[in-house]
Symmetry: C2
Subunit: 215 residues, 2 copies
């Protein structure tokens, strides 16, 4: 899954509106075009883009009419803080034992109406949990931003120059090999070795089993 | 914070690259331009867009050089499932007691190097928690998608037509007033009242304190 490309695709209001429509029910082109007040030609182009990214799929109903629906279970998270810009895309899959539990409860309720009431309560419970979890993630990001800020203050005191600062800035997130560091900072590996040797001598970093870290 | 507009802004590779650079350190235009191999004019335009959205701010250093940095603490979450397309934007704020705790621990460590080691460990612990939380949210989204799918199957059995189905589809997420339902489905309020009266008569929905819900 090409992560930045997904953000390009979602960075278009018409495509987002198409996805919103398809989240209610599968639709055909004319329906989407009328609902959104956008020419069918443009809708077809957007659907092609969404389809090639694997976000929607099409199928034909018994009358041979072509319907589109959302294909995939994905989650995209973007964290933006003064010292952080992080985009993560994860594919979402139901674990089979959880699926089994839901299916069993579903089968155990008698009558479509009872089952709908039960499943609707379950859905609202799950949505509340998701909302609580989001709160927790927000405060975690706030803490990460705060602690990163303190680290940067300290790095500015400890580092002799910009390159040292950037190396330390990477190492506070976890141990790394000199190849990784050279690659991330776009510096020749030899030069990176020299930089790390200097930081080692000053007692700021340490080296163990091929990985460098804050001492 | 205009949420869809934020996705438009992030749907551009150059703007994402600028944010990535600024997440390492504040930068000035020429620096960004050289690092990304993009003309200064284009960088200035992108920065204007990022600035007007409140994502970056600028300041002048002692030499009068204009620097840009990421301004805000935001989280954007996009959930995409066959029956779900949800975009949420939250502003992230450190709660003051948490901030106090971190600041106290920070003050209690002696020497910049000790403090950096301590804060770096703390950062890695927080990042691990964030990753675990992301896993939990993924499986929650998978469950929500699964349960929504079951609800839709049941709604297809229970609803007499498309409008009934769409009303029930909204009500499984929680109680709603007829005004809300009419607004969301773009149906005149009078017509919505009639639809709800029919669903009430069939014993599928119930009405209490101004709100309709699944019976």
């Amino acid at each position: 899954m090409d992560m930045p490309y997904l953000l390009d695709i979602l960075g278009n209001e018409n495509r987002r509106n198409i996805l919103t429509l398809l989240s209610y029910r599968p639709c055909y082109v004319t329906e989407i075009s009328e609902e959104l007040g956008v020419a069918p030609k443009a809708i077809i182009d957007h659907l092609k883009i969404l389809e090639s990214a694997g976000l929607v799929v099409s199928y034909h109903d018994e009358q041979g009419r072509k319907y589109y629906e959302i294909a995939d279970n994905l989650r995209i998270e973007v964290s933006i803080s003064p010292l952080m810009f992080d985009v993560s895309v994860s594919r979402v899959e139901v674990r089979s034992e959880e699926q089994k539990t839901i299916r069993e409860r579903y089968a155990a309720t008698s009558g479509a109406l009872n089952a709908l009431k039960y499943m609707s309560d379950e859905l609202q419970r799950l949505n509340r949990s998701a909302m609580e979890l989001r709160e927790t993630q927000n405060s975690l990001q706030a803490m990460i931003s705060e602690v990163t800020g303190m680290c940067v203050e300290l790095i500015n005191q400890l580092a002799a120059d910009q390159i040292e600062a950037e190396i330390l800035y990477l190492l506070i997130r976890g141990p790394a090999s000199y190849e990784e560091l050279a690659d991330k900072l776009n510096i020749p590996e030899d030069e990176m070795k020299g930089e790390l040797a200097r930081l080692l001598k000053k007692g700021i970093v340490t080296y163990r089993k091929g990985l460098w870290s804050i001492k």
